[in-house]
């Protein structure tokens, strides 16, 4: 499987924190998610990957090339949506389209305006009169209208109402369906993007704590719900996360096969149950520590 993006050992010092030795790969045609708590470094990472900010050390290869030598070509083929879209406040979307059309080799004006219509953004309104969500949608429309093969989106669902968020998720699925485009998304996991991400990277405190296929994670991570006292301390100690609750405890583990024997008696007597863990649960276990 081809990789459209390869980051190796990225390091960047930022105001309050740093990216340290961040490496990740993005498979061609996939929807790849970078998740993590606030200030984990997601925005900075995406900026570096989209050549919006320089890195201090490390390497980034996109579509087989590097920004140092092929910035123009790559920026044509990579669409970027920043967390805080910036536009010329006194100008309209139409003005921006003309601006963009001058530079992008494959600008699709018709597609752009049709997207604006779907997104309900008035192309004749000055940007300063658009809401935050609408600016986001404008940014999205721009990124989707210049024939980009790789889309790098920073919290694309933030600020969008339920309807637009759903339509965005559907759109991302649709454009990657034939494998011709790849999407890299950064998000707080609860934004619905965990539903569509195939590859998952967890970023915490500037470091990659997990980089795996979503399917694999869903298979390996499980909750063991059990009645207090039905599992002994030794087993409890092996859970990645343990929660004691009034009507049953639960432990999170990614190594159920190893624990199966010990848990079997409780399972058989109905004092324990195995259940799926969500991506959010898994991430939280890394963030809180235990």
């Amino acid at each position: 499987m081809e990789t459209v993006l390869e980051a190796t050992d990225l390091t960047k010092d930022y105001e309050d924190f740093s990216l340290r030795g961040v490496s990740l790969t993005v498979r061609s045609g996939s929807i790849s998610g970078v998740f993590g708590p606030n200030a984990a470094g997601k925005t900075t990472l995406l900026k570096v990957l989209a050549a919006q900010a320089p890195m201090q050390s490390g390497a980034v290869r996109v579509l087989g090339q590097i920004y140092e030598t092929s910035e123009g070509d790559l920026k044509n083929r990579v669409g970027y949506v920043p967390q805080e879209p910036t536009f010329y406040p006194d100008k309209t979307a139409t003005w921006h389209a003309r601006f963009a059309a001058h530079y992008f080799a494959r600008w699709d004006g018709a597609g752009f305006f049709s997207l604006l219509e779907t997104f309900r953004v008035n192309p004749l309104k000055k940007v300063k009169h658009l809401s935050g969500g609408q600016k986001k949608l404008l940014s999205l429309a721009t990124a989707l209208s210049h024939g980009a093969e790789l889309l790098i989106l920073d919290e694309p669902t933030a600020g969008l109402d339920v309807v637009h968020r759903r339509s965005l998720l559907d759109r991302l699925r649709a454009i990657t369906a034939d494998g011709s485009r790849t999407v890299l998304v950064a998000s707080h996991i609860t934004d619905g993007l965990d539903e569509i991400a195939e590859d998952v990277t967890f970023l915490h405190d500037g470091r990659v704590v997990l980089h795996a296929a979503a399917d694999d994670l869903m298979t390996r991570w499980k909750w063991v719900h059990y009645k207090d006292g039905s599992l002994d301390r030794a087993i409890e100690g092996r859970f990645a996360t343990l929660r004691r609750q009034p009507f049953g405890n639960r432990g999170l583990t990614d190594d159920l096969p190893a624990l199966r024997e010990a848990v079997a008696p409780a399972l058989a007597s109905g004092d324990a149950r195995i259940d799926h863990a969500s991506l959010e649960d898994i991430l939280l276990s890394f963030v809180k520590g235990a």
Partner: protein, 131 residues
């Protein structure tokens, strides 16, 4: 025309026209040591033109375009250079004209050139500072 150029040149052209209109007129008509004081307004006009142009400039937007930083900076420097050059030409022409009635002297030309050179330097530094 390059959209960046088109947007920014509006401010520079406006600045130039107002400079010409106001200061140029003084240089042409006044006897008072016009050429000692008036050229000093040039850097002021340049900076205010730059301020107006850069106030709404959106480098973050430009960075998403297939445009190298170098190309953007080249455009901006070209504008500063054009502005200062045009102003220099204008002031030199007026100075030459006024050598006839003794208001300007050859040292005036040197002075005007020096002021323009410094304006260029100030402008360039300011641009780098912003960027």
């Amino acid at each position: 025309m390059d959209p960046i150029l088109r947007r920014s040149s509006f401010f520079y052209v406006t600045a130039f026209v107002t400079y010409t209109g106001l200061m140029g007129r003084f240089m042409l008509t006044r006897d008072w040591p016009a050429f000692e004081v008036i050229p000093l307004f040039l850097p002021v006009w340049l900076i205010s033109g730059m301020l107006a142009s850069e106030h709404d400039e959106r480098y973050a937007f430009l960075r998403t375009l297939p445009l190298t930083d170098r190309a953007v900076v080249r455009t901006k420097f070209a504008l500063i250079l054009s502005f200062v050059s045009a102003a220099w030409l204008l002031m030199t022409a007026v100075a030459l004209f006024r050598m006839g009635d003794g208001v300007a002297t050859p040292s005036t030309l040197v002075y005007v050139t020096l002021v323009c050179a410094s304006a260029l330097l100030v402008g360039a530094l300011y641009q780098i500072g912003i960027w």
